[in-house]
Symmetry: D2
Subunit: 108 residues, 4 copies
């Protein structure tokens, strides 16, 4: 079975078991992703290099969990939106201009 479908099924079941669908509006899930993203950032708050790998795994997992849930609730196809955006990013960051530098597209 496809990995993403498998994760989606497990994550949706988790919410269903707890009757959490009522809380999982797009806005609340966007807040939740942002909150979990900050918990990941906290792993690197005082040092960029000295971090707990276990904490990183857990926090990255929580972000992915909410992202997959949000896509499910909003009936978005993750592969489609990621590949579409990658194509848009390719136009914003042409290889010729952005190779080897990290400048934002509006500065290129």
């Amino acid at each position: 079975m496809d990995t993403l479908s498998q994760l989606k099924t497990a994550i949706d079941q988790f919410a269903k078991d707890r009757d959490w669908g009522q809380f999982h509006t797009p806005a609340n899930l966007a807040k939740s992703i942002s909150i979990e993203a900050s918990e990941l950032l906290e792993c690197f708050q005082w040092s960029e290099t000295d971090y707990s790998l276990d904490a990183v795994k857990e926090e990255l997992a929580d972000i992915l969990n909410y992202c997959i849930r949000m896509a499910s609730v909003m009936e978005l196809d993750i592969a489609a939106i990621v590949l579409d955006k990658l194509e848009k990013n390719a136009n914003k960051y042409p290889v010729s201009k952005s190779k080897g530098n990290s400048m934002k597209y509006d500065k290129l």
Copy 2:
């Protein structure tokens, strides 16, 4: 081909083409996820219900993009970390206590 593997391949190639591996440290990717998460949140800044679906798709895609990239750079297995964390969350949020309420585990 598995969807996640396909996305990982496309995302890694995008970075490789631009020689961006040098910028993609775990700490920088954590910051990037947090920054993109706020752009998603911005879709709901002044209203929880009146949002642009196109903007949501793009911002959610950018977060997923960086999450998949971070897992790739750190050689983490996304399915494994998400399912592991879901199991931990199941212990923190037993159905009997959390069904139908959104309280944080330390308040249950």
Copy 3:
């Protein structure tokens, strides 16, 4: 005139002139602070040391702007809440345990 009072007056007037009080609920202001905080973080996205001072000034100002606005809307006394929290932090981080290290209080 006290600096904070002066800033509060200018910030409240700015919102009043635009009839923005209707959008400035506590929840929307919390989202706004988080969004602006990410814009500040973006100044350091790819480098901790090579940043634009002008951009930092603008983004830090936007965060302060929304914080002062939120305190005003919720009728909170900034000096009181900051000093109260500093006292709580002093208990969580006693000098004897936290001097010279950046560990979180629950690890001390």
Copy 4:
């Protein structure tokens, strides 16, 4: 004594007592502000209206604490940067165009 100066003095002393100046780089403080902003957002994660006032006070205070600290470390004049930015925002959001609506300046 001016309130902001008083808070700055207390906040700087708190850091000095713990020898935390070494951790308080601009980049680390930007991360810290973002992390605390998410803790404030967490007060409104599942409801926009049912929140703990005490929690809001504490989290808003932590954000202000780090903002004041960042301004101190970078020797920025808070009143000057906030009033400067307010003036820039007044140009981006002229009353005639933005009165009563919450649209972003690039959509006005």
